[in-house]
């Protein structure tokens, strides 16, 4: 029915640190269809950002992909030469990060850096043609209008520090969507923003996503944002996806004990709930626990959980990695 844009197969990533080898991703499998928003949920150190960075090939120097494939439109992104990938990045795959302050250059105006980005991608498309300045101007203006930026002409002449956090994040959205990429990795795009501003930015993102039929991987620790934005959700724990399915199914009836625990640990603003915390803390990925990584914190842990890592089980349209379901 729907076209697959991205397929991550058995991705394993390791970080080499002075403490030893951190096994950040231990076999991640993901599918993303065209025009779909997938929420990647998890706590600190669960590997959600590493998954995003692997797809963007922006992992830090001390990290290495040990195994796995990332198939994007039929090609393995991990095997594409760097030069070629640079052309893809921005045009076909783009990113929005948490802190727009660090991703906008403070010494150039918004217009200058936006133009540079467009020029670099434009050249690659057709080396011989002279860049059409007017066309670029048009793209910039329409992209900024897309994100409902007031006084576009003035904003183009502004430096990043003259804009508020919400406005900067709108600029990031405008840049990300300007070349109409097929895939956008949004890593905690609204975490640094106030709730009223977050609501504005998410609304704009959803609108543009519908307009251009973009596929988005939305990485966030905020389950509320996922429930309101995404169609599918993947819950990560200790470098693996422990549950994957439709947002409506997973939130209504979480299967994996970790997903259940997360939902129960969340205080809510709309109703009174009794919060139940998950005992213990996230494991150290230098020496992860044997078997299922969640077993030391799991209320349903069985003998087998300590010895053997669970294989993915398919429950209706859902994937769960837990011995309870195998």
């Amino acid at each position: 029915m729907s076209e697959k844009v991205l397929e991550v197969k058995n991705l394993r990533v390791e970080f080499y640190t002075y403490r030893g080898i951190v096994k950040a991703l231990n076999g991640v499998n993901l599918d993303l269809n065209k025009g779909e928003i997938l929420g990647l949920a998890g706590e600190t150190g669960s590997g959600k950002s590493v998954t995003g960075l692997s797809i963007l090939r922006l992992l830090p120097q001390n990290a290495r992909v040990v195994e796995g494939e990332i198939i994007f439109k039929g090609r393995d992104l991990l095997k594409i030469p760097e030069k070629e990938y640079n052309l893809l990045r921005g045009k076909e795959i783009n990113a929005i990060f948490q802190d727009p302050h660090t991703y906008l250059n403070p010494v150039f105006t918004i217009g200058e850096q936006f133009r540079d980005i467009l020029l670099s991608k434009k050249d690659s498309e057709n080396n011989s043609s002279k860049v059409d300045d007017k066309k670029i101007e048009e793209i910039m203006v329409s992209a900024l209008k897309d994100v409902k930026m007031p006084a576009v002409d003035r904003v183009l002449k502004m430096y990043p520090h003259e804009l508020s956090g919400g406005m900067k994040q709108r600029v990031m959205l405008a840049i990300a969507f300007s070349l109409q990429p097929s895939l956008i990795i949004a890593d905690e795009p609204t975490t640094a923003l106030d709730v009223t501003i977050q609501a504005q930015v998410l609304e704009i993102m959803k609108e543009l996503q519908r307009k251009y039929n973009t596929s988005i991987i939305l990485i966030t620790h905020d389950l509320g944002v996922i429930a309101e934005t995404c169609q599918k959700v993947a819950v990560m724990y200790a470098g693996r996806i422990v549950e994957y399915g439709k947002v409506s199914d997973v939130f209504k009836n979480p299967l994996h004990p970790y997903t259940k625990g997360l939902m129960e640990a969340l205080p809510r603003a709309d109703v009174d709930v009794k919060v139940k915390s998950i005992p213990g803390t996230v494991p150290d990925l230098v020496s992860p626990p044997s078997g299922c990584a969640f077993h030391p914190r799991c209320p349903y842990a069985m003998e087998i959980c300590k010895r053997q890592a669970p294989k993915p089980s398919y429950v209706k349209e859902r994937v769960v990695e837990c011995h309870l379901y195998s």
Partner: protein, 327 residues
């Protein structure tokens, strides 16, 4: 629950704080940041008051003024009936034993070169408490916050985020305070650990009758923990009520917008979106009229020029909005 007037432990009246901006060659005062324009509230003994606002609302400044880390520009603070706004010297030291603050980032509030034991014992020494009994007392504090003896010998970097926040709580309790100011105590923690810390705080309150001022931007946390809530916007309180009533019957358009902006982790909840446009006003210009006027969808002419009066709209429910006044 009937409470008497003299149950009030902390009372804050018309607190103002302006930070001067220096500029020019002579570094003269060229303007002010109007951080707090009017904060007024009271907290009863053993109660939790939530102080809610977005960044720049002045909520953290209020907390810092309450533990006397900042001097207020105007306004009064009463503690147990006595005015503590301008206390100094030994009086201040005594007050600091009663009122403690816990910050968002536990790593920044612990000395990285001291073990947890040393950090806790130092506090007791400063206040001349438990002479000769420091260690045993530190041990008791660790048990109180759900840590064990081995954690006493750890350095802050050897603890996880949740354990660190527990250690900070233990240190705050070392002086046997009555009043704790919790400034975003769980904002840097993961969801599963946040629940642990919130439950610990609630449990401690039940057992030892601590009084809390919970400063946060997280409405879900406020709903879970606090009995009453004050909403601040741009340095000014705009609505205050019992938490339950506030969440069900918010009167101020800003409170309503805030509540409807929080993402709810339930895809079946269909909210009527009430998005407000714009962003909070610049804190370097003094507020004339209602601070929310330029973002308010119901704005009237009067809102821009005159500060709305305080209206009682229910039991302990007060709001500052011309819509309510004119209804």
């Amino acid at each position: 629950m009937v409470m008497e007037k003299n149950d009030v432990l902390v009372k804050v009246e018309n607190l103002k704080k302006y930070f001067p901006i220096y500029g020019g060659i002579l570094q003269k005062v060229v303007g002010y940041i109007y951080a707090v324009e009017d904060a007024s509230f009271y907290i009863r003994k053993g109660e939790t008051l939530g102080l809610v606002g977005e960044s720049g609302s002045g909520k953290t400044t209020v907390g810092r003024i309450l533990v006397k880390l900042e001097e207020p520009t105007e306004g009064k603070i009463f503690y147990n009936g006595s005015n503590v706004t301008n206390i100094k010297g030994s009086e201040l030291k005594k007050y600091r034993r009663k009122a403690q603050i816990i910050f968002q980032d536990p790593y920044a509030s612990l000395n990285p070169r001291m073990t947890i034991k040393d950090s806790i014992i130092e506090v007791m020494r400063v206040h001349h408490l438990h002479k000769g009994e420091e260690y045993n007392n530190a041990l008791r504090l660790m048990e109180k916050v759900g840590l064990s003896e081995e954690h006493l010998y750890r350095f802050p970097h050897e603890l996880s985020g949740g354990q660190r926040q527990r250690a900070v709580i233990a240190r705050a309790l070392a002086v046997e305070p009555e009043f704790l100011i919790l400034d975003e105590p769980t904002a840097s923690l993961d969801v599963s650990v946040q629940a642990q810390v919130l439950d610990l705080l609630k449990e401690l309150q039940e057992k030892y009758n601590y009084t809390y001022l919970l400063i946060t931007h997280n409405l879900a946390v406020v709903r879970y923990v606090s009995e009453r809530t004050v909403i601040m916007y741009r340095g000014m309180w705009v609505e205050t009520s019992r938490t339950k009533e506030l969440f069900n019957k918010a009167e101020h358009p800003y409170t309503q917008a805030l509540l409807k902006s929080v993402p709810i982790p339930d895809p079946e909840v269909k909210k009527d979106k009430f998005l407000i446009s714009g962003e909070p006003p610049n804190p370097t210009t003094p507020v004339k009229g209602c601070p929310f006027a330029d973002r308010c969808p119901y704005v009237m002419d009067v809102c821009k020029n005159e500060m709305p009066p305080i209206e009682n709209v229910g039991d302990e429910h007060k709001v500052r909005c011309w819509l309510v006044t004119r209804k």
